[in-house]
Protein backbone atom coordinates (compact mmCIF):
# COMPACT_ATOMS: atom_id res chain seq x y z
CA UNK A 1 0.00 0.00 0.00
CA UNK A 2 2.65 2.48 1.00
CA UNK A 3 5.45 1.78 -1.39
CA UNK A 4 5.88 0.09 -4.70
CA UNK A 5 9.21 0.10 -6.46
CA UNK A 6 9.30 2.43 -9.39
CA UNK A 7 12.12 2.12 -11.85
CA UNK A 8 12.05 5.70 -13.05
CA UNK A 9 13.86 6.98 -9.95
CA UNK A 10 17.56 6.19 -9.65
CA UNK A 11 17.78 3.76 -6.78
CA UNK A 12 21.02 4.82 -5.16
CA UNK A 13 20.47 8.54 -5.03
CA UNK A 14 17.63 9.12 -2.62
CA UNK A 15 18.92 7.32 0.50
CA UNK A 16 22.40 8.81 0.18
CA UNK A 17 21.07 12.31 -0.08
CA UNK A 18 18.73 12.24 2.91
CA UNK A 19 21.16 10.85 5.49
CA UNK A 20 23.17 13.91 6.60
CA UNK A 21 20.17 16.19 6.71
CA UNK A 22 17.98 13.85 8.74
CA UNK A 23 20.83 13.20 11.16
CA UNK A 24 21.34 16.91 11.70
CA UNK A 25 17.64 17.24 12.43
CA UNK A 26 17.87 14.31 14.82
CA UNK A 27 20.77 15.88 16.71
CA UNK A 28 18.90 19.18 16.88
CA UNK A 29 15.85 17.47 18.41
CA UNK A 30 18.08 15.64 20.89
CA UNK A 31 19.78 18.90 21.86
CA UNK A 32 16.52 20.76 22.53
CA UNK A 33 14.87 17.91 24.42
CA UNK A 34 18.16 17.18 26.11
CA UNK A 35 18.20 20.66 27.59
CA UNK A 36 14.65 20.26 28.94
CA UNK A 37 15.41 16.76 30.22
CA UNK A 38 18.84 17.19 31.70
CA UNK A 39 19.17 20.83 32.77
CA UNK A 40 16.96 20.20 35.85
CA UNK A 41 19.15 17.23 36.82
CA UNK A 42 22.20 19.44 36.45
CA UNK A 43 20.53 22.01 38.67
CA UNK A 44 19.74 19.42 41.34
CA UNK A 45 23.37 18.33 41.49
CA UNK A 46 24.76 21.87 41.40
CA UNK A 47 22.45 23.03 44.19
CA UNK A 48 23.34 20.04 46.34
CA UNK A 49 26.99 21.14 46.30
CA UNK A 50 26.42 24.89 46.58
CA UNK A 51 26.98 26.67 49.93
CA UNK A 52 23.79 28.13 51.44
CA UNK A 53 24.84 31.77 51.10
CA UNK A 54 25.45 31.28 47.36
CA UNK A 55 22.28 29.25 46.73
CA UNK A 56 20.11 31.97 48.21
CA UNK A 57 21.17 34.77 45.88
CA UNK A 58 19.31 36.21 42.94
CA UNK A 59 19.90 35.76 40.11
CA UNK A 60 21.53 32.38 40.82
CA UNK A 61 24.86 31.70 39.14
CA UNK A 62 24.42 28.91 36.62
CA UNK A 63 27.88 27.48 37.05
CA UNK A 64 29.10 26.59 40.53
CA UNK A 65 31.72 28.98 41.85
CA UNK A 66 32.19 27.24 45.19
CA UNK A 67 31.70 23.63 46.14
CA UNK A 68 30.79 22.30 49.56
CA UNK A 69 29.97 18.91 51.06
CA UNK A 70 28.29 20.47 54.10
CA UNK A 71 24.79 19.48 53.01
CA UNK A 72 25.75 15.83 52.75
CA UNK A 73 27.52 16.00 56.09
CA UNK A 74 24.43 17.49 57.71
CA UNK A 75 22.36 14.72 56.13
CA UNK A 76 24.59 12.02 57.57
CA UNK A 77 24.23 13.49 61.06
CA UNK A 78 20.46 13.75 60.98
CA UNK A 79 19.10 10.90 63.07
CA UNK A 80 15.51 11.41 62.01
CA UNK A 81 16.44 11.06 58.34
CA UNK A 82 18.48 7.99 59.17
CA UNK A 83 15.33 6.52 60.69
CA UNK A 84 13.41 7.18 57.47
CA UNK A 85 16.22 5.58 55.52
CA UNK A 86 16.07 2.43 57.64
CA UNK A 87 12.29 2.28 57.16
CA UNK A 88 12.67 2.70 53.41
CA UNK A 89 15.25 -0.06 53.20
CA UNK A 90 13.26 -2.49 55.35
CA UNK A 91 9.98 -1.90 53.53
CA UNK A 92 11.51 -1.99 50.05
CA UNK A 93 13.62 -5.09 50.59
CA UNK A 94 10.80 -7.10 52.17
CA UNK A 95 8.41 -5.95 49.42
CA UNK A 96 10.91 -7.09 46.79
CA UNK A 97 11.16 -10.61 48.21
CA UNK A 98 7.47 -10.99 48.91
CA UNK A 99 6.54 -9.72 45.44
CA UNK A 100 8.86 -12.14 43.72
CA UNK A 101 7.47 -15.05 45.72
CA UNK A 102 3.81 -14.22 45.21
CA UNK A 103 4.10 -13.16 41.58
CA UNK A 104 6.33 -16.09 40.56
CA UNK A 105 3.68 -18.57 41.78
CA UNK A 106 0.94 -16.64 40.07
CA UNK A 107 2.88 -16.22 36.83
CA UNK A 108 3.72 -19.92 36.78
CA UNK A 109 0.06 -20.80 37.15
CA UNK A 110 -0.83 -18.44 34.30
CA UNK A 111 1.96 -19.69 32.07
CA UNK A 112 2.02 -23.45 32.49
CA UNK A 113 -1.56 -24.48 33.19
CA UNK A 114 -4.84 -24.11 31.38
CA UNK A 115 -7.97 -23.91 33.52
CA UNK A 116 -11.29 -22.15 33.75
CA UNK A 117 -11.14 -18.52 34.76
CA UNK A 118 -7.50 -18.13 33.71
CA UNK A 119 -8.13 -15.51 31.05
CA UNK A 120 -10.43 -13.38 33.22
CA UNK A 121 -8.00 -13.51 36.12
CA UNK A 122 -5.17 -12.40 33.90
CA UNK A 123 -7.21 -9.42 32.82
CA UNK A 124 -8.13 -8.66 36.39
CA UNK A 125 -4.48 -8.62 37.44
CA UNK A 126 -3.62 -6.41 34.51
CA UNK A 127 -6.48 -4.04 35.25
CA UNK A 128 -5.77 -3.80 38.97
CA UNK A 129 -2.98 -1.29 38.36
CA UNK A 130 -5.56 1.05 36.92
CA UNK A 131 -7.72 1.46 40.03
CA UNK A 132 -7.23 4.85 41.68
CA UNK A 133 -5.07 4.50 44.75
CA UNK A 134 -6.31 7.66 46.42
CA UNK A 135 -9.79 6.11 46.53
CA UNK A 136 -8.59 2.68 47.69
CA UNK A 137 -6.68 4.40 50.49
CA UNK A 138 -9.84 5.92 51.95
CA UNK A 139 -11.22 2.51 52.88
CA UNK A 140 -7.89 0.69 53.11
CA UNK A 141 -7.18 2.99 56.03
CA UNK A 142 -10.17 1.50 57.83
CA UNK A 143 -9.16 -2.06 56.88
CA UNK A 144 -5.68 -1.64 58.31
CA UNK A 145 -7.04 0.19 61.32
CA UNK A 146 -9.42 -2.69 62.09
CA UNK A 147 -6.71 -5.32 61.62
CA UNK A 148 -4.24 -3.44 63.82
CA UNK A 149 -1.74 -3.05 60.99
CA UNK A 150 -2.20 0.70 60.65
CA UNK A 151 1.09 2.49 61.23
CA UNK A 152 3.18 -0.66 60.83
CA UNK A 153 5.61 -1.84 58.18
CA UNK A 154 3.10 -4.57 57.36
CA UNK A 155 0.52 -2.14 56.01
CA UNK A 156 3.03 -0.73 53.55
CA UNK A 157 4.56 -4.05 52.56
CA UNK A 158 1.22 -5.70 51.84
CA UNK A 159 0.00 -2.69 49.84
CA UNK A 160 3.17 -2.35 47.79
CA UNK A 161 3.33 -6.06 47.07
CA UNK A 162 -0.21 -5.97 45.73
CA UNK A 163 0.47 -3.02 43.45
CA UNK A 164 3.62 -4.59 42.02
CA UNK A 165 1.76 -7.78 41.08
CA UNK A 166 0.52 -6.66 37.65
CA UNK A 167 3.98 -5.81 36.38
CA UNK A 168 5.85 -8.64 38.06
CA UNK A 169 3.32 -11.30 37.14
CA UNK A 170 3.31 -10.20 33.52
CA UNK A 171 7.08 -10.06 33.33
CA UNK A 172 7.54 -13.48 34.93
CA UNK A 173 4.79 -15.04 32.86
CA UNK A 174 6.71 -13.96 29.78
CA UNK A 175 9.80 -15.65 31.14
CA UNK A 176 8.06 -18.88 32.15
CA UNK A 177 6.54 -18.97 28.66
CA UNK A 178 10.05 -19.35 27.26
CA UNK A 179 10.85 -22.33 29.53
CA UNK A 180 10.07 -25.34 27.31
CA UNK A 181 7.24 -27.50 28.61
CA UNK A 182 9.17 -30.59 27.54
CA UNK A 183 11.58 -29.95 30.44
CA UNK A 184 8.69 -30.20 32.85
CA UNK A 185 7.23 -33.24 31.20
CA UNK A 186 10.62 -34.90 31.46
CA UNK A 187 10.75 -34.08 35.17
CA UNK A 188 7.26 -35.50 35.65
CA UNK A 189 8.25 -38.73 33.90
CA UNK A 190 11.24 -38.96 36.22
CA UNK A 191 8.78 -38.84 39.10
CA UNK A 192 9.25 -35.25 40.26
CA UNK A 193 6.17 -33.71 41.87
CA UNK A 194 4.73 -30.49 40.51
CA UNK A 195 6.19 -28.57 43.46
CA UNK A 196 9.64 -29.97 42.77
CA UNK A 197 9.36 -29.20 39.08
CA UNK A 198 8.44 -25.64 39.93
CA UNK A 199 11.14 -25.08 42.54
CA UNK A 200 14.01 -27.05 41.07
CA UNK A 201 13.52 -26.56 37.34
CA UNK A 202 11.34 -23.58 36.48
CA UNK A 203 12.46 -21.09 39.15
CA UNK A 204 16.23 -21.54 38.63
CA UNK A 205 15.75 -21.13 34.88
CA UNK A 206 13.81 -17.92 35.50
CA UNK A 207 16.40 -16.54 37.95
CA UNK A 208 17.37 -13.42 35.94
CA UNK A 209 13.69 -12.56 35.58
CA UNK A 210 13.15 -13.04 39.32
CA UNK A 211 15.96 -10.59 40.05
CA UNK A 212 14.50 -8.06 37.63
CA UNK A 213 11.00 -8.44 39.11
CA UNK A 214 12.46 -8.01 42.59
CA UNK A 215 14.25 -4.83 41.59
CA UNK A 216 11.10 -3.41 40.05
CA UNK A 217 9.21 -4.13 43.26
CA UNK A 218 12.03 -2.54 45.27
CA UNK A 219 11.85 0.62 43.16
CA UNK A 220 8.06 0.75 43.43
CA UNK A 221 8.23 0.57 47.23
CA UNK A 222 11.17 2.97 47.47
CA UNK A 223 9.42 5.63 45.37
CA UNK A 224 5.92 5.44 46.83
CA UNK A 225 4.56 8.57 48.42
CA UNK A 226 0.82 8.44 49.01
CA UNK A 227 0.63 5.13 50.91
CA UNK A 228 3.66 5.86 53.05
CA UNK A 229 2.23 9.30 53.79
CA UNK A 230 -1.09 7.93 54.98
CA UNK A 231 -0.70 4.45 56.43
CA UNK A 232 2.31 4.87 58.71
CA UNK A 233 3.15 6.41 62.05
CA UNK A 234 5.77 9.15 61.94
CA UNK A 235 8.43 6.74 63.21
CA UNK A 236 7.61 4.18 60.51
CA UNK A 237 7.58 6.65 57.64
CA UNK A 238 9.74 6.07 54.58
CA UNK A 239 11.96 8.68 52.94
CA UNK A 240 9.49 10.29 50.46
CA UNK A 241 6.93 11.51 53.04
CA UNK A 242 9.73 11.84 55.57
CA UNK A 243 11.55 14.35 53.39
CA UNK A 244 8.35 16.29 52.78
CA UNK A 245 7.75 16.58 56.52
CA UNK A 246 11.36 17.41 57.29
CA UNK A 247 11.92 20.11 54.70
CA UNK A 248 8.70 21.49 53.26
CA UNK A 249 6.97 22.35 56.51
CA UNK A 250 9.44 25.06 57.44
CA UNK A 251 9.10 28.76 56.79
CA UNK A 252 12.20 28.85 54.59
CA UNK A 253 13.02 25.52 52.94
CA UNK A 254 16.70 24.56 53.11
CA UNK A 255 16.88 23.93 49.37
CA UNK A 256 20.54 22.85 49.13
CA UNK A 257 19.99 20.33 51.96
CA UNK A 258 16.86 19.06 50.25
CA UNK A 259 18.64 18.72 46.90
CA UNK A 260 21.45 16.81 48.60
CA UNK A 261 18.86 14.50 50.18
CA UNK A 262 17.12 14.11 46.82
CA UNK A 263 20.43 13.18 45.24
CA UNK A 264 21.05 10.47 47.83
CA UNK A 265 17.49 9.09 47.67
CA UNK A 266 17.74 8.78 43.88
CA UNK A 267 20.99 6.80 43.85
CA UNK A 268 19.64 3.31 44.66
CA UNK A 269 16.88 3.69 42.10
CA UNK A 270 19.28 4.84 39.39
CA UNK A 271 21.55 1.89 40.16
CA UNK A 272 18.61 -0.50 39.93
CA UNK A 273 17.55 0.89 36.57
CA UNK A 274 21.01 0.67 35.09
CA UNK A 275 20.77 -3.03 35.74
CA UNK A 276 17.18 -3.20 34.52
CA UNK A 277 17.56 -1.36 31.23
CA UNK A 278 17.35 -4.45 29.09
CA UNK A 279 14.19 -5.66 30.82
CA UNK A 280 12.61 -2.27 30.48
CA UNK A 281 10.89 -2.46 27.15
CA UNK A 282 9.30 -5.89 27.56
CA UNK A 283 8.17 -5.11 31.09
CA UNK A 284 6.82 -1.71 30.20
CA UNK A 285 4.63 -2.81 27.39
CA UNK A 286 2.96 -5.21 29.79
CA UNK A 287 2.27 -2.65 32.46
CA UNK A 288 3.95 -0.01 34.47
CA UNK A 289 6.50 0.47 37.17
CA UNK A 290 5.26 3.81 38.27
CA UNK A 291 1.68 4.17 39.42
Amino acid sequence: MTATLSRSVPIARAPRRRRPRSRAAAWAAVAVIGFFGLAPIYWLVVTAFTPDERAFTFPPSLVPTEITFDHFARLAQNEQLFGYLVNSVVVSVVTAFLSVLVSAYMAYAFSKFRYRGRKSLMHLVLASQLFPQALLLVTLYAVFSASGLLGSYGALILSFTTFTLPLCVWMLKGIFDTVPSTLMEAAAIDGASRWRTLHQIALPLAAPGLVAAGLFAFVRAWNDFIFALTLTDPDRQTLPPGLVHTYLGEFQTAWPDLMAASFVVSLPVIAAFMFLQRYLVGGLTAGAVKG
Binding site: T2, A3, S6, V9, A14, P15, S22, R23, A26, A29, V30, F36, G37, P40, W43, L44, F58, P59, P60, V102, Y105, M106, Y108, A109, F113, Y115, R118, L126, L130, F131, P132, A134, L135, L136, L137, V138, T139, Y141, L158, S159, T161, F163, S193, R194, N223, F225, I226, L248, T253, M259, S262, S266, V269, Q277, L280, V281, L284, T285, A288, K290
Partner: protein, 280 residues
Protein backbone atom coordinates in the same frame (compact mmCIF):
# COMPACT_ATOMS: atom_id res chain seq x y z
CA UNK B 1 -0.23 -36.16 47.92
CA UNK B 2 0.20 -33.47 45.30
CA UNK B 3 -0.66 -36.05 42.70
CA UNK B 4 -4.23 -36.04 43.90
CA UNK B 5 -4.72 -32.43 42.77
CA UNK B 6 -5.73 -31.81 39.21
CA UNK B 7 -3.66 -29.35 37.20
CA UNK B 8 -6.39 -26.75 37.59
CA UNK B 9 -6.49 -27.14 41.37
CA UNK B 10 -2.71 -26.92 41.58
CA UNK B 11 -2.76 -23.72 39.52
CA UNK B 12 -5.40 -22.17 41.79
CA UNK B 13 -3.34 -23.14 44.83
CA UNK B 14 -0.37 -21.23 43.37
CA UNK B 15 -2.54 -18.19 42.94
CA UNK B 16 -3.92 -18.14 46.49
CA UNK B 17 -1.39 -15.65 47.95
CA UNK B 18 -1.74 -13.27 45.04
CA UNK B 19 -5.51 -13.47 44.97
CA UNK B 20 -5.74 -13.00 48.73
CA UNK B 21 -3.72 -9.81 48.47
CA UNK B 22 -5.80 -8.66 45.53
CA UNK B 23 -9.04 -9.23 47.45
CA UNK B 24 -7.82 -7.58 50.66
CA UNK B 25 -5.98 -4.59 49.20
CA UNK B 26 -7.92 -3.83 46.03
CA UNK B 27 -11.28 -5.57 45.68
CA UNK B 28 -12.66 -5.21 49.20
CA UNK B 29 -11.57 -1.57 49.72
CA UNK B 30 -12.96 -0.69 46.31
CA UNK B 31 -16.37 -2.20 46.96
CA UNK B 32 -16.42 -0.82 50.47
CA UNK B 33 -15.57 2.65 49.13
CA UNK B 34 -18.35 2.53 46.58
CA UNK B 35 -20.81 1.53 49.34
CA UNK B 36 -19.59 4.27 51.68
CA UNK B 37 -20.53 6.81 49.03
CA UNK B 38 -24.18 6.33 50.05
CA UNK B 39 -23.56 7.05 53.73
CA UNK B 40 -22.70 9.98 55.87
CA UNK B 41 -19.57 8.84 57.61
CA UNK B 42 -16.62 10.43 59.34
CA UNK B 43 -13.04 9.22 59.51
CA UNK B 44 -12.73 10.15 63.15
CA UNK B 45 -16.14 9.30 64.64
CA UNK B 46 -17.66 5.80 64.63
CA UNK B 47 -21.05 5.05 63.11
CA UNK B 48 -22.68 6.09 59.89
CA UNK B 49 -26.07 7.01 58.46
CA UNK B 50 -27.53 6.02 55.11
CA UNK B 51 -28.21 9.10 53.01
CA UNK B 52 -28.96 7.57 49.60
CA UNK B 53 -27.78 9.73 46.75
CA UNK B 54 -27.39 12.87 48.87
CA UNK B 55 -23.58 12.89 48.63
CA UNK B 56 -23.74 12.47 44.88
CA UNK B 57 -26.34 15.21 44.60
CA UNK B 58 -24.16 17.57 46.65
CA UNK B 59 -21.17 16.92 44.43
CA UNK B 60 -23.01 17.16 41.13
CA UNK B 61 -24.51 20.40 42.39
CA UNK B 62 -21.07 21.98 42.71
CA UNK B 63 -17.68 20.58 43.67
CA UNK B 64 -17.55 17.85 41.02
CA UNK B 65 -17.33 20.17 38.02
CA UNK B 66 -14.24 22.26 38.83
CA UNK B 67 -12.46 19.07 39.86
CA UNK B 68 -13.44 17.38 36.59
CA UNK B 69 -12.25 20.39 34.64
CA UNK B 70 -8.89 20.50 36.46
CA UNK B 71 -8.41 16.78 36.02
CA UNK B 72 -9.12 16.97 32.30
CA UNK B 73 -6.83 19.96 31.76
CA UNK B 74 -4.02 18.33 33.71
CA UNK B 75 -4.50 14.91 32.11
CA UNK B 76 -4.67 16.22 28.54
CA UNK B 77 -1.68 18.52 29.03
CA UNK B 78 0.44 15.97 30.86
CA UNK B 79 -0.33 13.29 28.27
CA UNK B 80 -0.11 15.21 24.98
CA UNK B 81 3.13 17.05 25.84
CA UNK B 82 5.14 13.94 26.83
CA UNK B 83 3.66 12.10 23.85
CA UNK B 84 4.88 14.74 21.39
CA UNK B 85 8.29 15.13 23.05
CA UNK B 86 8.73 11.39 23.45
CA UNK B 87 7.74 10.75 19.83
CA UNK B 88 10.15 13.39 18.52
CA UNK B 89 12.93 11.99 20.65
CA UNK B 90 12.20 8.40 19.64
CA UNK B 91 12.29 9.37 15.96
CA UNK B 92 15.56 11.21 16.49
CA UNK B 93 17.19 8.35 18.39
CA UNK B 94 15.99 5.91 15.75
CA UNK B 95 17.75 7.92 13.01
CA UNK B 96 21.06 6.29 13.79
CA UNK B 97 22.18 8.19 16.89
CA UNK B 98 24.32 6.37 19.47
CA UNK B 99 22.42 3.99 21.75
CA UNK B 100 23.72 5.33 25.10
CA UNK B 101 21.63 8.48 24.56
CA UNK B 102 18.51 6.49 25.36
CA UNK B 103 19.84 5.66 28.82
CA UNK B 104 20.74 9.29 29.53
CA UNK B 105 17.22 10.42 28.80
CA UNK B 106 15.75 7.98 31.30
CA UNK B 107 16.98 9.94 34.34
CA UNK B 108 13.92 12.17 34.78
CA UNK B 109 11.64 9.15 34.74
CA UNK B 110 13.75 6.98 36.99
CA UNK B 111 14.20 9.31 39.95
CA UNK B 112 11.50 9.12 42.67
CA UNK B 113 8.36 11.20 42.16
CA UNK B 114 8.87 13.28 45.29
CA UNK B 115 12.38 14.14 44.16
CA UNK B 116 10.92 15.35 40.86
CA UNK B 117 8.53 17.53 42.84
CA UNK B 118 11.25 18.91 45.14
CA UNK B 119 13.43 19.74 42.18
CA UNK B 120 10.73 21.64 40.30
CA UNK B 121 9.55 23.39 43.47
CA UNK B 122 13.08 24.73 43.68
CA UNK B 123 13.21 25.63 39.97
CA UNK B 124 9.85 27.44 40.21
CA UNK B 125 10.76 29.16 43.50
CA UNK B 126 9.61 32.79 43.38
CA UNK B 127 12.58 34.33 45.19
CA UNK B 128 15.63 32.28 44.27
CA UNK B 129 14.38 29.91 41.56
CA UNK B 130 16.52 29.35 38.50
CA UNK B 131 13.58 29.84 36.12
CA UNK B 132 13.03 33.37 37.39
CA UNK B 133 16.80 33.80 37.31
CA UNK B 134 16.95 32.91 33.63
CA UNK B 135 13.97 35.10 32.76
CA UNK B 136 14.95 37.95 35.05
CA UNK B 137 11.50 37.92 36.65
CA UNK B 138 10.04 37.30 40.09
CA UNK B 139 6.93 35.39 39.15
CA UNK B 140 5.27 33.23 41.78
CA UNK B 141 4.68 30.39 39.32
CA UNK B 142 2.90 28.17 41.80
CA UNK B 143 0.98 31.01 43.42
CA UNK B 144 -1.11 32.01 40.40
CA UNK B 145 -3.99 29.74 39.29
CA UNK B 146 -3.06 29.73 35.58
CA UNK B 147 0.70 29.36 35.88
CA UNK B 148 0.29 26.81 38.69
CA UNK B 149 -1.57 24.44 36.37
CA UNK B 150 1.04 24.95 33.65
CA UNK B 151 3.84 24.38 36.15
CA UNK B 152 2.28 21.14 37.35
CA UNK B 153 1.86 19.95 33.75
CA UNK B 154 5.46 20.86 32.89
CA UNK B 155 6.70 18.95 35.91
CA UNK B 156 4.69 15.83 35.09
CA UNK B 157 5.71 16.10 31.43
CA UNK B 158 9.34 16.15 32.47
CA UNK B 159 8.86 12.99 34.51
CA UNK B 160 6.86 11.16 31.82
CA UNK B 161 8.40 11.86 28.43
CA UNK B 162 11.20 9.28 28.84
CA UNK B 163 8.65 6.52 29.29
CA UNK B 164 6.91 7.63 26.10
CA UNK B 165 10.25 7.63 24.35
CA UNK B 166 11.01 4.07 25.44
CA UNK B 167 7.60 2.78 24.35
CA UNK B 168 7.63 4.55 20.98
CA UNK B 169 11.26 3.71 20.29
CA UNK B 170 10.41 0.06 20.86
CA UNK B 171 7.70 0.42 18.23
CA UNK B 172 9.98 2.19 15.77
CA UNK B 173 12.63 -0.49 16.12
CA UNK B 174 10.23 -3.19 14.97
CA UNK B 175 9.51 -1.25 11.77
CA UNK B 176 11.14 -2.92 8.76
CA UNK B 177 13.75 -0.62 7.21
CA UNK B 178 12.78 -1.75 3.72
CA UNK B 179 9.47 0.08 4.00
CA UNK B 180 11.21 3.42 4.38
CA UNK B 181 13.77 2.68 1.72
CA UNK B 182 11.12 1.64 -0.75
CA UNK B 183 9.10 4.77 0.00
CA UNK B 184 12.07 7.06 -0.47
CA UNK B 185 12.92 5.32 -3.72
CA UNK B 186 9.40 6.18 -4.75
CA UNK B 187 10.28 9.78 -4.10
CA UNK B 188 8.49 10.23 -0.77
CA UNK B 189 10.03 13.01 1.36
CA UNK B 190 10.65 12.71 5.09
CA UNK B 191 7.25 14.11 6.07
CA UNK B 192 5.42 11.95 3.58
CA UNK B 193 7.30 8.85 4.77
CA UNK B 194 6.44 9.70 8.37
CA UNK B 195 2.77 10.06 7.51
CA UNK B 196 2.41 7.06 5.24
CA UNK B 197 4.86 4.57 6.70
CA UNK B 198 5.71 5.41 10.32
CA UNK B 199 2.32 6.54 11.59
CA UNK B 200 0.35 3.50 10.38
CA UNK B 201 3.01 1.15 11.72
CA UNK B 202 3.02 2.90 15.11
CA UNK B 203 -0.72 3.23 15.52
CA UNK B 204 -1.15 0.29 17.92
CA UNK B 205 1.74 0.95 20.29
CA UNK B 206 1.26 4.72 20.20
CA UNK B 207 -2.41 4.20 21.06
CA UNK B 208 -1.62 2.01 24.06
CA UNK B 209 1.14 4.31 25.30
CA UNK B 210 -1.10 7.36 25.03
CA UNK B 211 -4.04 5.67 26.72
CA UNK B 212 -1.98 4.25 29.58
CA UNK B 213 -0.37 7.61 30.26
CA UNK B 214 -3.81 9.21 30.10
CA UNK B 215 -5.17 6.76 32.66
CA UNK B 216 -2.21 7.27 34.99
CA UNK B 217 -2.46 11.04 34.78
CA UNK B 218 -6.17 10.81 35.40
CA UNK B 219 -5.33 9.42 38.84
CA UNK B 220 -2.03 11.16 39.42
CA UNK B 221 -1.40 12.41 42.93
CA UNK B 222 2.25 12.81 43.97
CA UNK B 223 3.46 15.73 41.85
CA UNK B 224 0.36 17.84 42.29
CA UNK B 225 0.12 17.21 46.02
CA UNK B 226 3.73 18.15 46.73
CA UNK B 227 3.89 21.04 44.26
CA UNK B 228 0.65 22.85 45.01
CA UNK B 229 -1.45 20.70 47.34
CA UNK B 230 -4.30 21.34 44.88
CA UNK B 231 -4.03 25.12 45.16
CA UNK B 232 -3.91 28.00 44.71
CA UNK B 233 -7.62 28.39 45.41
CA UNK B 234 -8.27 24.86 44.16
CA UNK B 235 -6.88 25.60 40.70
CA UNK B 236 -4.93 22.33 40.49
CA UNK B 237 -7.29 20.22 42.57
CA UNK B 238 -7.77 17.01 40.60
CA UNK B 239 -9.80 13.94 41.56
CA UNK B 240 -6.91 12.29 43.38
CA UNK B 241 -6.15 15.37 45.48
CA UNK B 242 -9.82 16.18 46.11
CA UNK B 243 -10.69 12.63 47.24
CA UNK B 244 -7.60 12.47 49.43
CA UNK B 245 -8.18 15.85 51.07
CA UNK B 246 -11.90 15.29 51.62
CA UNK B 247 -11.13 12.01 53.41
CA UNK B 248 -7.92 12.75 55.29
CA UNK B 249 -8.16 16.48 55.92
CA UNK B 250 -11.92 17.00 55.95
CA UNK B 251 -12.55 13.53 57.50
CA UNK B 252 -15.69 13.34 55.33
CA UNK B 253 -15.64 9.76 54.05
CA UNK B 254 -19.10 9.95 52.49
CA UNK B 255 -18.33 12.78 50.13
CA UNK B 256 -14.79 11.52 49.48
CA UNK B 257 -16.01 8.11 48.35
CA UNK B 258 -18.93 9.51 46.38
CA UNK B 259 -16.51 11.71 44.47
CA UNK B 260 -14.39 8.58 44.09
CA UNK B 261 -17.42 6.77 42.67
CA UNK B 262 -17.85 9.39 39.96
CA UNK B 263 -14.12 9.24 39.31
CA UNK B 264 -14.23 5.44 39.01
CA UNK B 265 -17.07 5.66 36.54
CA UNK B 266 -14.98 7.80 34.22
CA UNK B 267 -11.98 5.54 34.72
CA UNK B 268 -13.97 2.44 33.84
CA UNK B 269 -14.66 3.87 30.42
CA UNK B 270 -10.94 4.45 29.89
CA UNK B 271 -10.11 1.00 31.26
CA UNK B 272 -12.53 -0.66 28.85
CA UNK B 273 -10.66 1.01 25.99
CA UNK B 274 -7.34 -0.13 27.42
CA UNK B 275 -8.31 -3.76 27.87
CA UNK B 276 -9.75 -3.84 24.36
CA UNK B 277 -6.55 -2.42 22.93
CA UNK B 278 -4.34 -4.69 25.00
CA UNK B 279 -6.25 -7.66 23.63
CA UNK B 280 -6.16 -6.55 20.04
Amino acid sequence: MNRRLTDGQFAWLLMVPGLALFLAIIAYPLVSALVTGFFEQSLVRPGRAFVGLANYADLLGGDFWPVLRNTLVFTLGATIAPFVIGYALALALNAGLPGWLRGVFLFPWVIPGVVVSFLWLWIFNANYGVLNGLLGTHVSWLGDPTTAMIAVIVTKTWASFPWMMVMLLAGLQTMPKELHEAASVDGAGAIRRFRSVTVPHMRAIAGIAFLLEFIWNFQHFDTIYVLTGGGPAGATKTFAVAVYDTAFKGFDLGHATALGGLWMLLLLVLMAFYLRKENA
